[in-house]
């Protein structure tokens, strides 16, 4: 058996790797009905909440009234550009200090965010995994 056979096997496996990755990236993700009411997560710890939010964040939607019920530093939801974010864990990590975040908890803050961070990819990226759903118009 020569080295060509070995390399053929390696190339074959790498091809399967990329094909599988393409399937994973482009697969249609089913709507999950694990949690429709985020308040049901109240008894779970922060890490579990974060994990669930990561897993199902794109499929939940909330009204502005629901967002307004989470208006404290420990429980801080904010609506920005039609998405709803749980910024509770971000309050203490915000580079500009906690006050700007605390002041917008429970509110629609698109204008404020766009004025302050509109052109910042870093700020946009920081929001991605804090997303817990979309805002019902």
């Amino acid at each position: 058996m020569n080295i060509l056979t070995k390399n053929k096997v390696a190339i074959f496996l790498i091809a399967i790797l990329f094909a599988g990755m393409a399937v994973i990236v482009y697969q249609e993700r089913p709507l999950r009905d694990v949690v429709k009411d985020y308040s049901a997560l109240g008894e779970l710890n922060a890490d579990t909440k974060k994990g669930l939010a990561v897993a199902i964040g794109n499929y939940l939607s909330f009204t502005l009234d629901e967002v307004a019920q989470h208006a404290t530093a420990d429980d801080c939801w904010v609506a920005i550009n039609s998405s709803v974010y749980d910024l509770s864990s971000w309050v203490s990590r915000h580079p500009g200090g906690p006050s700007p975040i605390i002041n917008i908890c429970g509110q629609e803050a698109s204008e404020l965010f766009n004025n302050q961070h509109g052109g910042s990819n870093v700020a946009q990226a920081a929001l991605i995994l804090l997303k817990i759903g979309s805002l019902q118009e």
Binding site: T5, K6, V9, I24, A55, L129
Partner: protein
């Protein structure tokens, strides 16, 4: 290390990665909690990241089973596991660190007689 020992080590590690890779691929929601905070800056969903990692581990396991570039793959898997061990910490971290060093043991030993690495030389 004897030829038989290296075969046991290689297939055992391959089974390990096949099993956990399949678990990540089929039930990503059960693994997403282990993702570190910096994943928040990635532009892809956590579930997808877990599935991609699972698929990568499955293919790496197939490389080990076939015995293709065994030393390189075992070394990379060792580094991968060591990274996870340092990130997770605790008892799980200790377990993963030990498994990482088992990978390094395979990486630093000569390929056994059942590998394509060995057969391609003969």
């Amino acid at each position: 290390m004897s030829n038989f020992s290296r075969q046991i080590l290689r297939f055992s590690l391959a089974m390990l990665f096949l099993w956990f890779g399949w678990q990540q691929l089929s039930s990503p929601e059960a693994w997403v909690f282990f993702l570190p905070d910096y994943v928040a800056y990635f532009p892809i969903p956590g579930e997808m990241l877990v599935q991609l990692n699972g698929w990568l581990e499955i293919i790496a396991a197939l490389f080990l089973i076939a015995g293709v570039y065994t030393k390189v793959i075992a070394g990379l898997l060792g580094l991968h596991l060591l990274g996870i061990a340092l990130m997770v910490g605790g008892a799980t971290g200790v377990r993963d660190a030990v498994l990482a060093f088992a990978n390094f043991a395979l990486a630093f030993s000569e390929p056994d007689n059942w590998t394509l690495d060995k057969r391609s030389k003969s």
